[in-house]
């Protein structure tokens, strides 16, 4: 009897090599590969999530800028419209003022002419009355000479005007 049985020794070596090949093919390789693939996938999806967040932030900044621009533009438009309206209103008021002044002026002028006319009429009728009265006093001489009448009226007008 010997301590080491050479057949058992060789059998064990063959058995172990076969077991190594079997386990490598069916256990270690597939499991390691599976886990590596999974961690790769997780890493990829994390990267993608990061990228998407970054993109979203960029988009947000962009939209905010656009909104701000639109806001500014709206403000500018309103300002411009206000300014235009003010100008227009001022212009209209000015025109109206001018017109009103013109109307007043014209009315004044008209009133003056009326006055002068009225005075003239008054003078004429007065002079007629005076001449009638004078002719009545003097006798029945009718003075039809316009030249004399006008002279008298002029004199009377001059004294009247004083």
């Amino acid at each position: 009897m010997s301590l080491i049985n050479p057949y058992t020794f060789i059998f064990t070596i063959i058995n172990l090599v076969v077991l190594y090949l079997i386990l490598r093919k069916f256990l270690f390789k597939p499991v390691t590969q599976f886990m590596e693939e999974r961690s790769e996938r997780i890493r990829n999806s994390l990267d993608e999530a990061d990228r998407k967040v970054h993109e979203a932030n960029e988009l947000k900044a962009q939209y905010e800028e656009i909104l701000k621009k639109a806001d500014d533009e709206g403000k500018a438009i309103i300002d411009r419209a206000e300014k235009y309206a003010k100008e227009k209103a001022e212009k209209i008021i000015e025109e109206a003022n001018i017109e009103a002044k013109a109307i007043i002026e014209r009315a004044k002028e008209e009133a003056e002419t009326e006055k002068i006319k009225a005075m003239h009429d008054l003078r004429v009728s007065l002079s007629h009355l005076i001449i009638e009265a004078a002719s009545k006093a003097i006798g029945n001489i009718s003075i039809d000479d316009d030249k004399i009448i006008n002279e008298v009226v002029k004199e009377a007008g001059a004294s009247w005007n004083k």
Partner: protein, 218 residues
């Protein structure tokens, strides 16, 4: 009590090849491991549950353990170390199921030790090339050459003898105890001698093999 293994049957070629219980039990272990690995790796999900979780934890531990020690060469040697670990944990604790542990036979443990040393030599040649491997016998100085040659023999000897000695010692002590007190006490002590000692010797064997590989690839 016999230190050798009994012959189960003889293959009738080349004048009869004896097949011992060691070989038969090794075949049983191989069958168990093959079937288990086929069942366990079937229908895996991306999100691990139950058995898959357990298997993933074990293989991840093995991978990170070898990655830490061997660096870039881990992928070549992790399957071998894993095979030895799975084989040894079953072989050392199979006494619980009434079978004789194969590691109780010096033939099997010396086969394991010789294979480990061959793997170490392969690792060394892979890392340094044939010339570098030959040169490593004369480093750090030529004076060390006889020591290195001696190392080549003492390493497998101590690996094989350690595994064999531990397992057979546990086996013999368990046999003696069950002769003295046949009930209850052997069951309690077998937790230490079969389970704990078997697992510890598996760890020591794999760890020492990995240490030798680590030294070879550096």
């Amino acid at each position: 009590m016999e230190i050798g293994q009994s012959v189960v049957f003889t293959i009738p070629i080349f004048g009869g090849i004896p097949v011992t219980t060691t070989v038969v039990v090794t075949w049983i272990i191989m069958a168990i491991l093959t079937i288990a690995s086929l069942i366990v790796t079937r229908g895996w999900n991306q999100v691990p549950t139950g058995v898959q979780n357990f298997v993933e934890t074990i293989i991840d531990a093995l991978n990170s353990f070898t990655k830490d020690a061997l660096g870039e060469y881990w992928a070549s040697f992790a399957p071998y170390l894993g095979t030895v670990a799975l084989y040894l944990i079953l072989a050392n604790t199979i006494d619980l199921f009434g079978l004789t542990p194969p590691t109780k036979d010096l033939s099997a443990t010396s086969a394991l030790a010789i294979m480990s040393i061959i793997v170490v030599i392969i690792a060394s040649i892979k890392a340094k090339g044939l010339k570098g491997y030959a040169k490593s016998f004369f480093e750090p100085m030529p004076f060390f050459f006889p020591m290195k040659i001696l190392d080549m023999f003492t390493r497998p000897l101590s690996l094989a003898a350690r595994l064999f000695g531990n397992i057979i010692a546990a086996f013999i002590i368990m046999g003696l105890i069950s002769k003295v007190v046949p009930i209850v006490v052997p069951a309690i002590l077998s937790i230490y001698f079969d389970l704990f000692d078997g697992a510890l010797q598996m760890v020591v064997f794999v760890f020492l093999t990995m240490l030798y590989i680590e030294e070879a690839v550096e």
